[in-house]
């Protein structure tokens, strides 16, 4: 029973966002921006459904459901809700609900709001499917769906070039990484025989010890790193800021960018804790953490600042996952949840500021606190959490992280240094975004700053408050959310006991040091910004620039290759074709030992010799002909020779037909040649003609040699015997040729007369339509105008 309920509920939760997405444009048309209230019910309901699974999941259970999708390849449409998936799912649907409401206010009156809701909900559904999916192919389908829908979302302001570029860049990087992930999944499925996450997790050391560990590791990492914006793939993320702010708030807090982190967390028990894992992940993570934070402080647009802190946070998460110890994973889980809450909130705050003050430039912002008090409160709540100050969930995370790294060896010291530096920079960035715009003097450039409507401040406030409540009621928080998630990630049950009450230990001391450093950076932010800018300017090259170079290079390479290959010259195409045919004749003939034996001099009668001579004369005449018309006529001589051979061999029908066909082809070819206005002769110098001649001879020789080889074999005359025997007996015809044509192989003739008819019509069309066109004088720009 429970299983059936799980199936219905689970599928319903997965389907709801897509259903809402389909309805969104219609609803928008009917009730305008209020559609947000109705549409938000979909993620809210999905949230409720997932919440109902919580008792089972938090006690270590796993809810599974699904059905066969493509039995031919053991692909199932199956899902698995454990602690990790449950917490992720709740974040996605919960924040999703708030975001939909927020978009209702933020994009009020936008002409494409319906479309926007639709994309947003589709993205939500894809992301939810991604984290709940069990079967690897199911997961991958959702993975690519998030790439596709985010392409649409980033390019939402499609009339601006930057938005288009951002969308293409995101699709190229995350889509490309997705293909690597696909390869990795196919390896896991086909070579390790593991079809689903459940099987992967149950396989224990199977993947780690398998000979395919290295390629699987690399491919999965490619997928995760591109999606989760690790250096140097991070470039798409700041450029994705071209999307409307609700998109940034959603994609860059709880979701899209976390998909890669999710994957790493998910596969950690199966792939993690190897020398490779604990080296590569922290290395990439630490670099991303520090670089991201530096770039965040440098930026002047508060949204871009937030984007880079997201990059930085993702670096921290990847680093922690790479460390792979119990504490590190707990730290990662705590930080991930905290990050989703405060970053989602801060992005919405940035949007509110933009909405209220019409700028996001930090230099032009100030003194908004009086005009936007609720937004300010929400901003502070989020920033305190981000800064790691008690009693907020960010504090719990940071304590745990330092706790995980406090070992004396060089490895941990290096990572600890990165963590402290990165956290301090992020602390500064948090307050640059959440404090600076609100304090000080209101610049005159800001005209009538105002608080947005309920939907605009509601979301960030809820997220800020949740960050506080999570820390205050930390036991419930650990029991329902972080604990099960960490257990699922670590692969065995873990206890989390970190509370908001600080204890005097190394971690706390480091935490204080971080905050102190952060405050220093905050106060000196202008100097830090200038210094970073100078430094980056002196480097002059960044991955974003590199992406452009790569794209330009790719296009230039494409032009080069294509123009080389597709020259537009028929003679060049013919040369390649004849070379291919000649090679196809000789190479297998020689390798396969099918060369003919030396032929006997044939015993021919005099007329036959004469005809042969005639044909030869014709061919020579074609070659030496001074102009094309002579060549065509000479070609006819060769054809008449063939007709004579038919005659000599006793087939007057064929012979006569051949005569007629040759005559007609000569006439028609001659007419066509005069009409095409080609140069009447081949004027190339001998030097250019010789290679063509050699090639033609080689090709002809190939056909001849192979024909010799074939006729030297014994022939099976069953067919001709049959025709001779039954032509009159059954088919009532003495003329075997005719009986073959109209009876034995009548269907061939049916096809051939269709060819004759079509040719007639084609020639007619070719000749006539030109006459018609000349009469129709006006130009016709459209190819298909009726």
């Amino acid at each position: 029973m429970a299983e059936i309920e799980a199936t219905t509920g689970g599928i319903l939760a997965l389907a709801l966002p897509f259903v809402a997405a389909a309805l969104a444009p219609i609803l928008k048309r009917i009730i305008g921006a209020h559609a947000a209230w109705v549409l938000a019910l979909a993620p809210a309901a999905a949230f409720a459904i997932l919440f109902s699974f919580l008792p089972e999941v938090s006690s270590g259970g796993v809810v599974q459901f699904g059905f066969d999708w493509i039995p031919a390849f053991d692909v199932r449409f199956s899902f698995r809700i454990d602690g990790l998936a449950s917490t992720f799912g709740l974040l996605i649907t919960g924040i999703g609900t708030l975001i939909i409401l927020y978009s209702g206010g933020y994009l009020k009156g936008h002409r494409d709001q319906g479309r926007f809701f639709s994309f947003m909900l589709m993205f939500m559904g894809s992301m939810l499917g991604l984290v709940l999916a069990d079967d690897l192919m199911t997961l991958f389908v959702y993975w690519e769906l998030t790439s596709i829908t985010s392409f649409l979302l980033i390019g939402f302001d499609h009339e601006r070039e930057k938005a288009r570029r951002g969308a293409i860049q995101a699709l190229a990087i995350t889509g490309g990484g997705g293909l690597a992930l696909l390869a990795g999944f196919i390896l896991i499925r086909e070579l390790a025989g593991l079809n689903s996450m459940t099987e992967v997790l149950a396989a224990g050391d199977a993947l780690r010890t398998s000979p395919y560990y290295l390629p699987i590791f690399i491919l999965v990492l490619c997928g995760a790193f591109t999606k989760s914006a690790q250096m140097p793939f991070h470039v798409w993320l700041p450029n994705a800021m071209e999307a409307p702010t609700p998109v940034s708030a959603y994609l860059h807090s709880a979701t899209m960018v976390k998909a890669g982190v999710y994957l790493l967390l998910r596969m950690q028990p199966a792939l993690g804790d190897t020398a490779l894992w604990t080296t590569v992940l922290p290395a990439f993570g630490a670099v991303t953490l520090v670089m991201g934070a530096l770039l965040a402080v440098r930026a002047t647009d508060i949204k871009i600042t937030l984007a880079y802190t997201t990059v930085s946070s993702l670096g921290l998460l990847v680093m922690l996952i790479g460390v792979s110890t119990e504490y590190a994973l707990i730290g990662a889980v705590l930080y991930l949840i905290a990050h989703s809450l405060f970053k989602g909130g801060l992005f919405m705050v940035a949007g509110s500021v933009d909405h209220g003050a019409h700028t996001r430039e930090i230099d032009r912002l100030g003194g908004l606190a009086r005009h936007m008090p609720i937004t300010f409160a929400a901003a502070l709540l989020c920033a305190l959490s981000m800064g790691g100050i008690t009693p907020f969930v960010g504090f719990l995370a940071k304590e745990e992280i330092y706790h995980a790294l406090e070992y004396g060896d060089a490895y941990h010291i290096a990572l600890m240094a990165a963590a402290i530096l990165g956290n301090a920079l992020m602390f500064a960035a948090a307050f640059i975004v959440a404090l600076k715009p609100f304090v000080g003097k209101l610049p005159e450039t800001i005209d009538h700053p105002h608080e947005g409507g309920f939907t605009i401040w509601f979301g960030p406030l809820v997220l800020g408050v949740l960050g506080l409540l999570g820390a205050l009621f930390y036991e419930t928080y650990h029991a329902l959310f972080s604990g099960p998630m960490a257990s699922a990630t670590y692969g065995q049950p873990v206890e989390i006991d970190i509370s908001f009450v600080p204890h005097l230990n190394l971690a706390f001391a480091l935490s204080l040091a971080t905050i102190a450093l952060g405050i220093v950076i905050y106060l000196a932010s202008n100097g830090v910004r200038a210094a970073t800018s100078r430094f980056l300017a002196s480097v002059g090259w960044g991955p974003d620039h590199g992406f452009d170079q790569a794209m330009r290079g790719l296009l230039r390479f494409s032009y080069f290759v294509t123009n080389r290959l597709q020259s537009g010259r028929l003679d060049y195409y013919m040369t390649i074709t004849v070379i291919a045919i000649t090679a196809a004749l000789f190479v297998p003939m020689i390798l396969g030992g099918a060369l003919p034996a030396e032929p006997q001099m044939p015993q021919l009668r005099l007329p036959e010799w004469l005809v042969l001579a005639l044909i030869l004369v014709g061919i020579v005449a074609v070659v030496v002909a001074k102009n094309r018309l002579t060549a065509i006529v000479s070609l006819g001589i060769q054809g008449f020779g063939t007709a004579l051979i038919f005659m000599l061999l006793g087939a007057p029908d064929l012979s006569f037909t051949q005569f007629m066909v040759e005559t007609l082809s000569v006439v028609i070819l001659a007419l066509v040649m005069t009409r095409l206005k080609l140069s009447p002769a081949d004027h190339r110098p001998l030097r250019e003609k010789l290679p063509d001649a050699a090639l033609a001879l080689a090709g002809g020789a190939g056909f001849a040699v192979f024909l010799l080889s074939i006729v030297q074999r014994p022939f099976d005359p069953a067919l001709s015997d049959f025709f001779e025997e039954y032509s009159y007996a059954i088919a009532h015809g003495k003329n075997i040729v005719n009986v073959i044509l109209v009876d034995f192989r009548g269907v061939d003739t049916m096809g051939e007369i269709a060819v004759v008819m079509t040719t007639g019509l084609a020639v007619l069309a070719l000749i006539r339509i030109r006459v018609g066109r000349r009469a129709k004088a006006q130009p016709d720009p459209m190819e298909t105008t009726p």
């Binding site: 493509i70 031919a72 991958f140 389908v141 690519e144 769906l145 293409i168 490309g176 690597a180 696909l182 390869a183 196919i186 499925r189 086909e190 025989g193 000979p211 395919y212 296009l555 494409s558 290759v561 294509t562 290959l565 537009g568 028929l570 195409y573 013919m574 196809a584 297998p588 390798l591 396969g592 192979f706 080889s709 074939i710 074999r713 022939f715 069953a718 067919l719 049959f722 025709f723 034995f744 009548g746 269907v747 061939d748 049916m750 096809g751 269709a754 060819v755 008819m757 079509t758 040719t759 019509l761 084609a762 069309a765 070719l766 339509i769 018609g772 459209m782 298909t784 105008t785 009726p786």
Partner: protein, 554 residues
């Protein structure tokens, strides 16, 4: 003589060809009644499609079907033999035929109808259908000629200078290929003394290490490879496909190259399996280069139609990749190809080593069948999607007044429905889920890994990536961006929508029909996978095919 009296349903085997020729002839007889043409042609194509579907159902239920033309017993008469492979191809062809016919009704000018658009189209479809259904190799050649002439007629309708240039290249190079096909068939007849394909399959099996048979197989590979536009014999396609009317390009792109692919599968894989195994390495290289040439070519284009030309080629490469896989289960040829792949892969040594050990890991699966099944699935997908892309591009070009990416724009806002469909087709052709191009790619990559050719799988994925970038570019420029400036004085709609222009919604109908396939085959692929699997097994082990021709006895 051999068979007893036939039931009416047995005539389904020949029905598609007969319908096409009858309608083609009838429409030509009433050529001057221009207004009647579409109202006869569309029911005709519906009838054709209905016959195709019934035939497919019959084959699915009863296995391969054979009808001996003129009641002459095999191998003396011409056999029409339909197995799952042929039935799937012919049905898909009928499907896009219906869509194109509806589209043509709204897009072909009166002059072009007068000079036989619909007769040409029926004759071409007749040639295509005949090629998919016949069981006689010379008869296959005849249908090739029919479709070549039909396509030539369609290609020149309009007679613009650029068109004639394209048509010349198309005609010359295709004639070379068709003639090579004919000559090779002559050689083959000299060796085996029969033209019936089931008979050839049996007789060629006794000539495993025969150099002449190998040469014939290579010649067929060249001839059909050229027809299919495989590198390095693909020149004719980008030289000509962008010149005729969009609906004609659509039909060509969907069908003509796929007939080459079909013939290659039928002849090389079914008639000459040992030779195919010898050639697998060569085919894998051809496949990889064709894919890359197509993908890079697409990136290099700034005209939507030329870009689509290269998408066709990339698709052909992907299909060829499926034909490059040889049996994974132990067979001598498989080990050879795995070893040769190992030497080629070079840089990816660990992958190769692992893949070479792959075969025993997955018991009971045969990468030859997987590859072929994926190739067939991809080919069917490509027939539908390429047709759809050209038709959608045609509508887009009609609205923008140009098919150049430099001049197009603003369609996302102007025509959201068209834009959405275009997006579906672009994602489908790039192989992104949940559309029809995704699963065949998964199958092919999977088969490549199993067959010990991970590098080929990597090329398939790389091609998918490049096509994704090219598609995104198309979409961003032609649909998202605002129109640079009105291409024609008087706004982008100038010269369009003259009085009596049928409602554009009706012109969207064919696109909608084709999009249904893209989505259904992407979301619920099991039925199609099951069918292509049957088709692939029928080629790898043609006992059913042979049995249907010669009866259970021989």
């Amino acid at each position: 003589m051999m068979h007893g009296a036939l039931a009416p349903s047995d005539y389904l085997v020949i029905a598609p060809v007969a319908i096409c020729l009858l309608f083609g002839a009838a429409l030509l007889m009433m050529r001057k009644r221009i207004d009647w043409q579409p109202w006869l042609a569309i029911p005709g194509f519906l009838l054709l499609f209905a016959a195709d579907v019934l035939l497919l159902l019959k084959v699915a239920a009863e296995g391969p079907q054979t009808m001996m033309m003129g009641n002459w017993k095999p191998p003396f008469g011409i056999a029409f033999t339909v197995d799952m492979l042929g039935a799937l191809f012919v049905t898909t062809a009928g499907f896009v035929g219906v869509a194109s016919a509806i589209y043509a009704t709204f897009s072909m000018s009166r002059t072009e109808r007068r000079y036989g658009f619909f007769p040409f189209m029926f004759l071409m479809m007749g040639g295509v259908s005949g090629a998919f259904l016949t069981g006689d190799i010379f008869n296959l050649y005849v249908w090739f000629e029919v479709l070549l002439m039909g396509s030539f007629g369609l290609l020149i309708l309009g007679s613009e200078r650029e068109q004639l240039d394209g048509a010349t290249k198309y005609c010359f190079l295709n004639l070379v290929a068709t003639t090579l096909f004919l000559i090779t068939t002559g050689y083959l007849y000299g060796v085996v003394g029969t033209l019936n394909m089931a008979d050839i399959a049996q007789k060629a099996a006794r000539l495993e290490n025969d150099g002449a048979v190998l040469t014939i197989a290579v010649l067929y590979l060249v001839a059909f490879g050229m027809k299919a536009a495989a590198f390095p014999l693909n020149f004719w396609l980008p030289a000509s496909y962008h010149t005729p009317r969009f609906v004609v390009s659509a039909l060509f792109a969907g069908l003509l190259t796929k007939v080459g692919v079909y013939a290659l599968i039928r002849v090389l894989l079914m008639l000459f399996p040992p030779q195919h195994a010898d050639l697998a390495t060569l085919i894998s290289w051809v496949a990889a280069l064709t894919m890359l040439v197509g993908a890079f070519g697409a990136l290099a284009q700034s005209d939507m139609r030329r870009l689509l030309n290269y998408f066709v080629i990339a698709g052909i490469g992907t299909i060829f990749a499926g034909l490059a896989l040889t049996g994974g289960e132990g067979g001598a040829s498989a080990t050879v190809s795995a070893a040769s792949a190992a030497t080629q892969a070079g840089g990816t040594a660990p992958m190769t080593g692992m893949a070479a050990a792959a075969a025993p890991l997955v018991p009971g699966s045969d990468s030859l069948v997987i590859g072929l099944s994926g190739a067939v699935f991809y080919a069917l997908h490509s027939i539908v999607i390429m047709t759809a892309l050209y038709l959608a591009a045609g509508t887009a070009a009609r609205i923008s007044g140009s098919s150049s990416l430099r001049a197009m724009g603003g369609l996302w806002r102007a025509r959201p429905g068209l834009a959405a469909l275009m997006l579906v087709f672009l994602f489908a052709v790039s192989g992104l889920p949940p559309f029809s191009g995704f699963w065949p790619k998964v199958i092919l990559v999977r088969g490549a890994f199993q067959a010990g050719m991970p590098w080929l799988g990597a090329v398939i994925l790389l091609t998918g990536f490049l096509m994704t970038v090219a598609s995104a570019r198309v979409f961003a420029l032609a649909f998202w961006r605002n129109a640079p400036e009105p291409a024609v004085a008087g706004g982008p709609n100038a010269g369009f929508a003259p009085a009596g222009e049928p409602s554009p919604m009706l012109a969207m109908l064919p696109l909608l029909i084709l999009a249904v396939f893209a989505v259904v085959a992407g979301v619920l692929p099991q039925w199609l996978v099951a069918l292509t699997d049957v088709a692939a097994r029928g080629i790898v082990d043609p006992a059913g095919y042979v049995g249907s021709v010669f009866g259970g006895v021989s």
